[in-house]
């Protein structure tokens, strides 16, 4: 390789794409300022919300579009297709041209976003540990866009042809993906439903498919520059697209999943934990049926009551495997039960209370301490036959244990702040009302793959945590109301930015189901503080469940 030529080739390329590159750099800086400034819009400021949403969504989209123009300009300035490229007749080796293009892309299109994100992280007090976890994600995001565009550019002579190819490949991938997803919905609905609730598995699949695209794209680029064998390059391209689609559909290794270990019995005594099923709560309903070809199924759900769960801990059901034994000796194993892993708005009042030094949570749901979930699945025809028969239900429950811990306390005034790792929370506004108060929080946190959840708008369904108002003098605590404040800007930002500034609206009326439990007046608020309680994993355990005289459809 002729390393002395590299700066000149890069300079020439920079001259060639300077206008588009300048525009891309401006957009990058604008995105950095928008996110890094910590600016966020309260839910009441409609006009600002719209403007912020347009910017938050528009800038990344524009950045992507500019890259779609910039990269073909860069590559096709010395087209690898046809016989018009300048360097074919000049004393420049193939490796040198490839190195110049790679250095340009890495130095000017990959590193600047990394640097901008790094500065944004540092300016926003993100911990080093989280920065180390975030930077590979930024790198992956850049490469998963740049490499496929560059690969397609090396296979086309002009921007028009590139655009046609880009649209064709995109349509082909989308169409194939749609067909495969549709097939899964029709023929393996249960697996589809289970998978679609598993955020980390979905992310793992996307990342694995994206990596396939990056590696395959890099091979196409390398092959085109070093050999210019179009046929081989096209074969690599087709294999790459096909394997990316297959990985996206079939990948089952969830490498982002937090490793679940058995509960540590030295801190969490599991031996006395038992589970019982409330027979009066048994409830049958028709299971969702997406395929007209499959037999109708009935889903049986019930409330599970846990006993002897140590204070401060709560349990959730990860999986149920059960079997019915009828009086005539017939045994009926359950079909696949759709577990609802980590249903996030189930907070046990007792566990919450334990976490806040025993202060009672007054407006907690009386059913806290129990978990409602599916216990059995069977063909509707069998259900109709056996629905009134008494049977014995035996099952094994896989349980996830969580302990609740206070991660931050804030005095009830505007400007109060708390820091929990890389999560920064500030009370933006306190609106005292005749009954209760409304708090608008500004929360800033990293949008990491490993901690991502689906966007939640319910304050009780936060990402593994919940906010409470605690008045220690009166020995009273209240949960916020179940209201839904849709924050479009922060929701969209979550999809496009690493650092998310979002507004959270919490209404504390002190009531439950419109019935006042405690009067949250000015005096009560004067002695209150805002507390964030976080659920941390305490490991997994299994419990056997036996329910005699179990009836699939008990008479109410």
């Amino acid at each position: 390789m002729q390393t002395a030529l590299l700066p000149h080739l890069i300079w020439k390329d920079l001259r060639h794409v300077r206008v588009v590159f300048g525009l891309w750099l401006l957009l990058l800086l604008a995105q950095g300022v928008l996110i890094g400034s910590g600016f966020s819009v309260g839910p009441g400021q409609m006009l600002w919300q719209i403007a912020y949403t347009i910017l938050a969504m528009g800038i990344p989209v524009l950045q992507g579009l500019v890259l779609v123009i910039l990269i073909p300009l860069l590559i096709q300035d010395e087209s690898l297709v046809g016989t018009t490229a300048f360097w074919f007749t000049r004393p420049i080796s193939r490796g040198t041209v490839l190195a110049a293009k790679v250095l340009f892309i890495v130095g000017l299109l990959v590193i600047p976003p990394l640097v901008v994100e790094l500065l944004v992280f540092l300016a926003n007090g993100i911990q080093t540990r989280d920065i180390v976890r975030a930077l590979p994600q930024v790198l992956y995001t850049s490469l998963s866009l740049i490499v496929p565009i560059a690969a397609l550019s090396t296979l086309t002579r002009s921007f028009a042809r590139f655009a046609i190819w880009l649209v064709s490949v995109w349509v082909a991938v989308m169409a194939f993906g749609f067909v495969v997803q549709f097939e899964r919905m029709i023929f393996s609905m249960e697996t589809f439903m289970t998978d679609s609730q598993n955020t980390s598995l979905l992310f793992s699949r996307s990342i694995a498919a994206g990596l396939c695209g990056i590696v395959g794209g890099a091979l196409v680029i390398g092959n085109q520059y070093l050999t210019r064998r179009m046929r081989t390059s096209f074969v690599i391209l087709i294999v790459t697209v096909a394997s990316s689609i297959c990985v996206q559909m079939l990948w089952n290794y969830d490498f982002l999943k937090h490793p679940e270990s058995a509960a540590n019995t030295s801190t969490f005594r599991t031996d006395s934990v038992s589970v019982a099923l409330n027979p009066k709560s048994v409830f049958a309903n028709d299971a969702l049926q997406f395929s007209p070809m499959s037999d109708p199924r009935t889903s049986i759900s019930a409330r599970f009551k846990f006993s002897a769960v140590p204070h401060g801990y709560q349990l959730e059901i990860a999986d149920v495997q059960s079997e019915l034994t009828f009086a005539d000796g017939a045994k009926l194993p359950s079909g696949k039960v759709t577990a609802l892993p980590g249903l996030p708005n189930q907070w046990w009042a007792s566990a919450l209370s334990e976490a806040i030094d025993g202060v009672p949570v007054l407006n907690g749901d009386p059913d806290f301490g129990e978990v409602f979930g599916q216990v059995f699945s069977l063909d509707t025809s069998i259900f109709q036959e056996r629905k009134s028969e008494s049977a014995t239900l035996r099952g094994t429950l896989s349980l996830k244990a969580k302990y609740l811990t206070v991660v931050g306390r804030l005095p009830l005034r505007s400007g109060a702040r708390m820091v929990d790792g890389s999560r920064h929370v500030e009370i933006a506004t306190v609106v005292k009302q005749t009954t209760g108060c409304r708090l608008i929080l500004r929360e800033r946190k990293l949008n990491l793959w490993s901690t991502s959840t689906f966007s939640q708008f319910n304050p009780l369904a936060g990402d593994g945590g919940v906010y409470l108002l605690v008045n220690r003098a009166r020995n009273q605590a209240i949960l916020p109301d179940q209201n839904f404040n849709f924050d479009m800007a922060s929701t969209l930002l979550q999809a496009t930015a690493m650092l998310v500034n979002r507004s959270i609206v919490l209404d504390f009326s002190g009531s439950r189901r419109d019935k006042e439990i405690v009067s949250v007046d000015a005096d009560w608020l004067a002695g209150a503080e805002l507390v964030r309680v976080q659920a941390e994993s305490a490991g997994t355990l299994k419990r056997e469940l036996t329910a005699d005289n179990f009836v699939l459809s008990p008479k109410k």
């Binding site: 030529l5 000149h8 020439k12 001259r15 060639h16 490229a85 074919f88 007749t89 000049r90 004393p91």
Partner: protein, 253 residues
Amino acid sequence: MSSAISTSQLTRHFGHFCAVDGLNLSVERGMFYGFLGPNGAGKSTTIKMLTGLLAPTSGSMHIMGTDVSDPARSIEVKRRIGVVPENLALFDNLTANEYLTFIGRMYGMDRATLSARREELLTIMDLNETGRKLTMEFSHGMRKKLALAGALIADPDVLFLDEPFEGVDALAARVLRDTLQSCVARGATIFLTSHVLEIVEKLCTHVGIISKGRVVFEASMEVIRRTGSLEDQFIRAVGGDGAVVQKLSWLDG
């Protein structure tokens, strides 16, 4: 001393079509060689193979005694040649000054030599007034002159010119012609393709005529002049002398 350019059984197929069919050429050093032929005869394909733009299907080619198709030595060969391809291969977003500087750097020229030659070339080609104007804004003639300046800046031993006079006005053509003659006078070898027989007749010392991928005539200009005109020779060589001239009905009588 070996030839400046030599090919042996050089062949290029495009699918079933044979564009160049076992071409044997020998161009001695210092020659101004005109490579002629009708449209689709294989001129551009030959020049593309010789300059590394296209790989031959079979056969061999040597420039200044070095095998062009040997990837390990192709860079060495390219250091010794200058090319004005059909499409010119300029960079639209560079000025004339920047373009010549870039090419000089690609040939590893030192700063002082590059600067001196660049200024001289820009003056001779009448491009020194173009300033910050980008090559995309140049006229066709200006682009041709700049492409030739780019081919000359490294003082090559062999110059390949594919239709250098096409679309060039008389003034620009004169500049190009004079510059090329100076090059030959200094000992360079020029391999030129053109449709304009008058120019070839004026400039070239030797002529080869290709038809259907094969060399059908080769002689020095002296010999051609002795036996008639280049045009007569060309028409005879490509089989055009017996052709029935079709006339348009509304022009006939």
